[in-house]
């Protein structure tokens, strides 16, 4: 059986792609580097959009990345059901690309926040969170200046009613509405969150937990079972 192939996208200014690729390999999947300037998804089974400061966060976080050539391929593929996970800047890009509703804005405190954050998994019916138990509490690192999730009242109500809130903060660090740390699209295949599962997969590097592994074992299980 050939290994599940998870694409990891690199934009100019992406920082977390190597950690993401390492986490993908750690659970036994194959990490496939994807380059922002290529019109090529290389036939991957899923895509990880890592964090960083793509295109320098110019204009708005993710606003320029959304128009990268690779996104011309990724947007229709995601709409057709390809599992996509965006963390931090990846989440911002998914919102700017309108693959996820709402937007990420400046932290209410105006401070850049870098700390270990308690979270609760609210939704396990996604290809990226099915290895968790509903309501499971985990700890992941967060590191962002613009992570305050906002959406209009109707969108928020819809997210809550449809079970699209995937991860919630326990102790809101940035002023996100409804303590939202991560959401999924209506179909469930696209997930975005501000915390960093790829930084919490090995104790050796001083991670606060290995809770991030669940996101990677989830996608592997999902691809192998498919």
């Amino acid at each position: 059986m050939s290994a599940a192939r998870v694409g990891v996208v690199t934009f100019p200014g992406t920082l977390d792609d190597q950690d993401a690729a390492r986490a993908v390999r750690l659970v036994g999947a194959q990490a496939v580097p994807l380059w922002h300037a290529d019109h090529d998804l290389k036939g991957v089974d899923a895509v990880f959009l890592p964090g960083g400061f793509s295109y320098g966060d110019y204009l708005r976080c993710g606003a320029i990345s959304r128009f990268a050539p690779l996104m011309d391929e990724l947007v229709p593929a995601a709409k057709a059901g390809l599992p996509v996970l965006g963390t931090c800047n990846g989440f911002q890009i998914l919102c700017e690309a309108h693959l996820l509703p709402g937007a990420l804005t400046r932290n209410a405190s105006l401070h850049y926040i870098c700390r270990d954050q308690k979270l609760r998994i609210e939704q396990t019916a996604t290809p990226w969170t099915n290895a968790f138990a509903p309501g499971q509490e985990i700890v992941l690192p967060i590191k962002h200046g613009e992570g305050r999730y906002v959406a209009d009242a109707d969108t928020l109500a819809e997210l809550e009613a449809n079970g699209q809130v995937v991860v919630r903060y326990l102790g809101n660090p940035n002023g996100s509405l409804n303590d939202i740390a991560g959401i999924r699209n209506a179909a469930g295949n696209v997930v975005g969150l501000m915390p960093h599962p790829e930084h919490a997969v090995e104790e050796l590097v001083g991670a606060p937990s290995t809770d991030g592994l669940g996101f990677f074992t989830s996608i592997l299980k999902n691809l192998v079972d498919a």
Binding site: L59, R60, A63, F67, C95, E96, H98, P101, G102, A103, T105, R106, N107, A108, S109, L110, R148, V150, A151, D152, G175
Partner: protein
């Protein structure tokens, strides 16, 4: 040649902590009588030709596509001069 101004502001219902920080700083600097400040972005778009209706429609499209995120921001377009 014409210059078109695009102003982009957070929608009124979106919290603007930067504007709030500025409003809080003003009294410390001796400026009184300010009840609120909201911060936005101004783009000066230089056109090769005149700012006719077709060109303005194009600028509005630019604003909609890139300059503003209409999920959280409103924009307005006007010709300078």
């Amino acid at each position: 040649m014409a210059r078109v101004i695009v102003d982009v502001m957070l929608k009124p219902e979106i919290l603007d902590p930067q504007g709030q920080a500025i409003a809080r700083a003003l009294p410390r600097l001796g400026f009184s009588g300010v009840s609120a400040v909201r911060q936005g972005k101004r783009f000066e778009v230089e056109l090769d030709g005149p700012a006719d209706e077709a060109a303005l429609a194009e600028v509005r499209k630019m604003a909609e596509t890139l300059l503003a995120n209409t999920v959280i921001e409103d924009y307005s377009v006007r010709v300078e001069g």
